[in-house]
Amino acid sequence: MQEHVDSIKTYTVIFVSLLILTGATTLVATIDLGPLNIVMALLIAVVKMLLVALYFMHLRHSTVLTKVVVGGGMLWLGILLVFSLADFVSRGWLPVPGK
């Protein structure tokens, strides 16, 4: 339960940071970093997500249970992505006809 009231200043700092990061991701996309482009894009997106979640959604001040719930959600999305990718990525690794 939030006893503290975050200051308008705190929120403004986060807000401006989010705008800057949006500009950053747009500009970085115009530079050829090869396979790192997608990494940078996702990294910046994750940072923005964390700023919104921790500060705007008050996750910083939330109970341990809430944090576990959010972490669990991210983990489960990860399971969906990783296990599915494991199939598509490993197709053709085995020199079996038709596979």
Binding site: Y11, G23, D32, V69, S84
Partner: protein, 221 residues
Amino acid sequence: MDSHIELPELQEQFETPEQQREVSTLGMWIFLVTEIMFFGGLFMAYTIYRRAFAGAFGLASNTMDVWLGAANTAVLICSSFTMVLAVRAAKIGSRKALIVFLILTILFGSVFLGIKAFEWNTKFVEHHVPGPTFHLEGASAGDQGPAQIFFSLYFTMTGLHALHMIIGEGLMLFLLWEAYAGRYSPSYYTPVDIGGLYWHFVDIIWIFLFPLLYLIARHQH
């Protein structure tokens, strides 16, 4: 009966307003986890197909208007800013500030949806809607099919997001109505709090949609 406190907003099954608040917040967070998995299926399909068709996806993504997309991202971030200020206003009992910030949030949300509608219309005009009329200039014949898959993901992902925005606008209007009627105070502002959680979540989805849909292979320009 027992220690049940008599308060107008306290529902029967709860012992204290504190419990009711905690329960409502936990419930909303769990709902947001279900939303993570709901959108997650689309992100998974996107991941698989982008990996398989990197070239076609790059060509298709380049037809998006990057500056409009970035501007829209900024608009949504502004709406999140005004939303969290609205929650803060409710928490400290500033009814007027709450109303102003809710109105601003709704306005920013509407701007976002307006720009989205414009973008969709552009796609229709340019024949970038998957189906028999689809044609992507500059792409080979072999890339036309995968490019359609990009756009099917574009329309379903942004469409689902827009649907959540519209629901969010409805929620905000409800909160505005209740705020105007003086229903919220420092001891009871839970609907504003959890409405804010929902709104921020929808913003986070867009934070991922923007780079994934608009920023593929931009360095070629």
